[in-house]
Symmetry: D2
Subunit: 499 residues, 4 copies
Amino acid sequence: MSGNNLAEGSNPSEAQMSGAEVIAQSLKTQDVNYMFGIVGIPVTEIALATQKLGIRYVGMRNEQAACYAASAVGYLTGRPGVCLVVSGPGLIHALGGMANANMNCWYMECCLPPPICMAETSAVYVAASLLRNAKQPLLIIGKGAAYAHAEHSIRKLVEQCKLPFLPTPMGKGVIPDNHPNCVGAARSRALQLADVIVLFGARLNWILHFGLPPRYQPDVKFIQVDICAEELGNNVRPAVALLGDINAVTQQLLEQFDKIPWQYPPESKWWKILREKMKSNEAASKELASQKSLPMNYYTVFYHVQEQLPRDCFVVSEGANTMDIGRTVLQNCLPRHRLDAGTFGTMGVGLGFAIAAAVVAKDRNPGQRVICVEGDSAFGFSGMEVETICRYNLPIVLLVVNNNGIYQGLDIDTWKDMLKSGDATTVAPPVCLLPHSHYEHVMTAFGGKGYFVQTPEELQKSLRQSLADMTKPSLINIMIEPQAMRKAQDFHWLTRSKI
Amino acid sequence: MSGNNLAEGSNPSEAQMSGAEVIAQSLKTQDVNYMFGIVGIPVTEIALATQKLGIRYVGMRNEQAACYAASAVGYLTGRPGVCLVVSGPGLIHALGGMANANMNCWYMECCLPPPICMAETSAVYVAASLLRNAKQPLLIIGKGAAYAHAEHSIRKLVEQCKLPFLPTPMGKGVIPDNHPNCVGAARSRALQLADVIVLFGARLNWILHFGLPPRYQPDVKFIQVDICAEELGNNVRPAVALLGDINAVTQQLLEQFDKIPWQYPPESKWWKILREKMKSNEAASKELASQKSLPMNYYTVFYHVQEQLPRDCFVVSEGANTMDIGRTVLQNCLPRHRLDAGTFGTMGVGLGFAIAAAVVAKDRNPGQRVICVEGDSAFGFSGMEVETICRYNLPIVLLVVNNNGIYQGLDIDTWKDMLKSGDATTVAPPVCLLPHSHYEHVMTAFGGKGYFVQTPEELQKSLRQSLADMTKPSLINIMIEPQAMRKAQDFHWLTRSKI
Amino acid sequence: MSGNNLAEGSNPSEAQMSGAEVIAQSLKTQDVNYMFGIVGIPVTEIALATQKLGIRYVGMRNEQAACYAASAVGYLTGRPGVCLVVSGPGLIHALGGMANANMNCWYMECCLPPPICMAETSAVYVAASLLRNAKQPLLIIGKGAAYAHAEHSIRKLVEQCKLPFLPTPMGKGVIPDNHPNCVGAARSRALQLADVIVLFGARLNWILHFGLPPRYQPDVKFIQVDICAEELGNNVRPAVALLGDINAVTQQLLEQFDKIPWQYPPESKWWKILREKMKSNEAASKELASQKSLPMNYYTVFYHVQEQLPRDCFVVSEGANTMDIGRTVLQNCLPRHRLDAGTFGTMGVGLGFAIAAAVVAKDRNPGQRVICVEGDSAFGFSGMEVETICRYNLPIVLLVVNNNGIYQGLDIDTWKDMLKSGDATTVAPPVCLLPHSHYEHVMTAFGGKGYFVQTPEELQKSLRQSLADMTKPSLINIMIEPQAMRKAQDFHWLTRSKI
Amino acid sequence: MSGNNLAEGSNPSEAQMSGAEVIAQSLKTQDVNYMFGIVGIPVTEIALATQKLGIRYVGMRNEQAACYAASAVGYLTGRPGVCLVVSGPGLIHALGGMANANMNCWYMECCLPPPICMAETSAVYVAASLLRNAKQPLLIIGKGAAYAHAEHSIRKLVEQCKLPFLPTPMGKGVIPDNHPNCVGAARSRALQLADVIVLFGARLNWILHFGLPPRYQPDVKFIQVDICAEELGNNVRPAVALLGDINAVTQQLLEQFDKIPWQYPPESKWWKILREKMKSNEAASKELASQKSLPMNYYTVFYHVQEQLPRDCFVVSEGANTMDIGRTVLQNCLPRHRLDAGTFGTMGVGLGFAIAAAVVAKDRNPGQRVICVEGDSAFGFSGMEVETICRYNLPIVLLVVNNNGIYQGLDIDTWKDMLKSGDATTVAPPVCLLPHSHYEHVMTAFGGKGYFVQTPEELQKSLRQSLADMTKPSLINIMIEPQAMRKAQDFHWLTRSKI
């Protein structure tokens, strides 16, 4: 079949529709705009029929990544993405994506946008009173707030009441990270000392340490705002639970503060504690970032990336330290512009998510970039999707933060020494990957641009070139200290025990 | 953690064993020799404890491939391979491997080799009589025969009784493909005209066309030899079913032909039909193989590969035409030395299988090679495992038979023309991959050797170099005609309809 | 073990708690008041520990019925009932109850009552407008309204706005069936002609004919009020969906009608149509009920039952015609006082439900009765639970409406004649049960009172005695015409085709 | 529908078959002779179509019992029984039966009888040698031997080699229990002291104490004969495993003892130990059986039942002590004539099994009886199936051994006293059922004969009448001591701890 043949095809006005056409039409009716998948007998016809109706088809290299991409489209656009796989093994490969979607945000068959519901008026009143009486209040903004498009109302609440806020990983950008009320740089302190915390679509899961001491005050009061009744009261019993659409409920709260105006005193001791902690933490990060020793450490890398990060880009990230530290340094300015491994901690989602974001970006806002920050181990799960990126010429800059391993690795000399004592299956630590892997070749193999960088200067230059050239995707393979640790923390439970 | 630290570790003589050590010890007790996986909290300790007990650990890049590798080890060694994954997403990624193992051959928990059982004497007598009276007999040797180590007894039966035989894909090598009684080159004709067929551990599944007309005589009599009662009588009711260990049952058959000697007349019309058909088919293949036009076609490629194929190598293969046509040209001389996508038709198994075979080969028979023949689409499912291959320096030669697509693709000029009419998501046929992809870069990225070949001469040379140099794995990216079709078939139902 | 021993037991103040005590304490903490089950090793201790904490334990005869009883308690009391079974077969027997609970209303682990949420104000406004402009409005009250305790607000809406309403089977009693605005007697007509229908916690499932023509106007507008977003838009796309607590949303609607008062004109043509249809249907039923021929028909039976039905009793029912026709004649005056086979159409739930209702009634309101109306086939699923009823001396009057079969049966003479032609396994129609079965003996076997009734007079007398005597449960076995059909319907699709 | 109508029906010769007819025809082709179920829309037609083809249809009262009946037919006849249920709740109710069949013996879709397979000759030789050299040999005959129809070969082995044997519960009757070599009366001693044990289709599950000390010698050698490879080596690693058809393998063993004749010396110390233990155990049982105190104990009851037990009857049993003690006293003389709760310990199987056995008996051997021995609690699970028994007039004598509870209960006076202290839900021990329940009324309700017996004389008389009258089924409700314990055991671990 040639591209020309594609343009012809059967005339839909004549005769009846094929099964593939019926499926395609039904997807179109449900306002599906993107399909990801891998064709094979007998689903190729469905992909063709779908394209004919104007739905974009993205052919992927593994059903796993296809399903991750489809699930991300649901989150980004509010309309379902679709994953096309053959039955049997194809379907089983796709299960990872389905499980991840389930743990995060997305479902197929969600034909109608659900109607909006609001919290009970009296509960809203109680919540507002709690907040008025808080000594050390804190708002936590989760991805539920992003999904509910609650950015305007929550920002109004933050600014009108002068409250400190903290985003969860995928809640970043609902209010810009550089907003003066964002206390992300004092995250642990803020959680530990707050006496009243409002959760906007954020779950008290492992990322938020389950809401329990010693990471929180034993008597902290949670006000939980969520659309999902099952999430309310998980792990910790909230003082007030506001069940409803997060945007609508925030507006109900704002009405309370309109009726009886209130703002939290900006000169309080609480703000002083938070600002001082932020200052010292930022100084410590900057200190780490400015270290001149080579190989680079995480902070140096992310400092330089942040310097050049386009304000409106999507940030996609996965990995262990790469994702954790990157999150603290890289700033999001727009809602629903960060995608990461999420609640389920799934490795292998990054490239699928980046592809989805890039396809959406290309459609909506030509010129917008996707910055995909991968640990080297994380990149391995779906690195072959780089071919997909090149095939569709997607505006993605891939950063592989490469420490030669999972959590940590070995430098090339230690690796070679080690092999003298036996076969790698016998002597290599299970966390190690091959030192000095040239992941950038995976990009050049398909016509994209690749960079192998070992110094801050090389990093700066490669970023500049990658971001300047919109004609090709690129991959920057950034070599860091294989045993690089995160900066010391002043809470003992923050530092992971060495493996 | 460094390799040195590994050598020290905790002293097992002191104090009690950790949970990880208990698991490792239990695997050792069950005679597990290989573990494949991806570490993460909290399973890293298990990998370490396992290595300490002398079990080889192979760290993979995606749980999918790890699980495929573990399943292959079970088939190759008769002892279970183990797959180590973290719970949640890791486990879900591994499901594909588990499903595939289930459809083929391998189970965990198989502590004891099961005792051998034999067929009922009277049924063996009936089977022998049927065979004696056959006008056009045929033996089909399946992977069950390989798994049962029945190679010696079946070969004796073939030679003593002078019977024609046909291997199934993974039954290839139980008797060498170049044995004079092998009628693989007349496969369709042999199936279509045989009047008595003995199935040795072969299933009448889609690969054998379910045993039904018009691919078979309506009154063909099947003699089914299998260890698995559930397989007996699937799709077609056998004339005789011999339930038992395939090797033991074959010996029972041989006893019958020892008591009353018999051999099938070598000058029969049946042998004449088969030999003539083989001759004409081989001539047709040779004709295709000798075509000088470029890009090459499948037959030319496989002809040159076969020329240099080491007699004792493992052959691993997956893809559509790549696997189908490759199977007819590439010869196996040893049992249990071919692994392919098998009954379940799973794409993505190739590199995991190749890694498993190479790890086993390195252990048992240094110098032995694994030739892994991948379609370009198939390679994409787990191409990142090339890093694993390089990390463990495995004796693998990867051939990517590259037609720029699934089933077929576009040449680079047509591709570029096509893009003038719209975005690739809109205009590219769903079967297309990026033309001129340099998959060999995925190998050079990790220090292996890569070749991009477009002519028979380049193919010959790259094969020679790859096979000569045992110090590094290599990948040969073989460009073929993107619209290359298989040779014409004289049964209409053999030719797949165009997509 | 004797009852005395029970009073002693281990002293909970001394030493630590056993596993059984921990489980019991945890159930108590979750405000569980009732446990149903069957003991066995090793769960007997749990039942004992539970009783010690004041939770009532009801030992049942089959796990199926135990689980049905536990699920009903959840609906009746708003607190979970618990089902105690041994693992293995006991658990499997309980699956029916779990599936049924899932399809209806009940879940374990529902620790906290969920917070109340309200519908979006603008959607409420739209709904109110729709209703104001309706020509032929109808409210349908489902079991969701009962579960939400919305009886006062919905009744206020009905009476203030003078709207006709229709209860679903388990929605009966939210407003008394004998309320003048109830149009149950003109159900088919009301559904068929309404132009705006408000669904209060009612699903458009098979009981409501999926909301589709010809049972409804093609352009009928549905206003759906539900707590469950997943239920919204099933089968039919609602004109407005009000997501929220049904009671809270009804109050929101009332606020609209307080702001701008409105009532539907009582002298409208719509009310005239409905009242005339009700009158003619009631006349037809009364005609059937007054037939003097013997055996009795369904209408005669239910007419006499209704005559004596205590106003505050629970009505439990299952069967085919018995449940369907009984529902139209037997009136409920209180919310949450009717339990039947429900959405899932499960046979076998009746006695479990009746036992649960009776245990709750005994606790809350001594003197209250449970009337359990069973078809003879339905009674067979769990008839042995009569022993449970007698053991706990529960205030249940069981009516078995006996037509010797499923849907229909044979009279005793035809049965005997038929047996002359062969064994019953060969000649008896599969729908037949044994004619003249004395189900009342199943009650007298355990000390309860049994009645075998064949005439209206016997029925009246037995009902009078059963309801007068609170000291013992009773069972009235009511013989009806084995081929009794329901009254003719004037919609052709209402009449089931003969088997 | 009347019986007459049934005889007419549609003419199968005209026109095409309905869906129901296709299903029925397919069951007939697979040699299905019995269907059990409950009809409803839309499966009634299937039952009718099935009857037309001569398959017997038995309408049951609960899908649970229907499925148990269908599974028993598979065991009794070697051809599958079929269970007909409606989808949804009917299917869920049937799960118990499916799980139980799975744990025991029966599968649907078993179209072809599997071919027979034999054990490896060398393994048979080793097994025979082990047996020749045994000091204290023992054969254990399981239900696998019964299912394999191995009665003749195993009996020949027992008698020719003069070996002691022990049946498992459902292995009883493969060789008659009263055979002089049966050491059932010294079961615990035989297991404890044997040095070589041959297992014929018996599993080392909880019934056989998992094959472990202290119930067995630590160095006992097991020879395992089984058709199922998965069963081999469970719990204990056998010295020899003979995989194959149990009858065929036993014949292979006999061939060994034909070649080199051998018999175990009848005057050995081992036989002496066993005979003495049997004598003392039988004396203890007889002592218990002859006790004159009332209420009766278990041994008295079973002694009198055994006195009148027809030699060729089926014995079905379930319960706790009722099944355990009954098994030791009631003797089976024919293979496949005992059905009980089996490996899975399922309560509720009894009446379904009895109905299946009776339907088969009526077909094969008019005059043959089914004696169904139920504990009172066990009877409650499916007591309503008594109506089924009466409807089909099945030759069943039901014995309910009634101790007013599960394991034990209270006498009527203690029960009444106890109720003075509170409601039964609060004060009744969870193991108690209603004292003096007249279960026999459940039989008289449907026209069968019922007996309430409290003395040995009443028991004898009622048994005599029940067995003499073939025209009606009967139920004998046998009151025993509510706190009746089993006889003291001289192994401490045999006596269950009091609840």
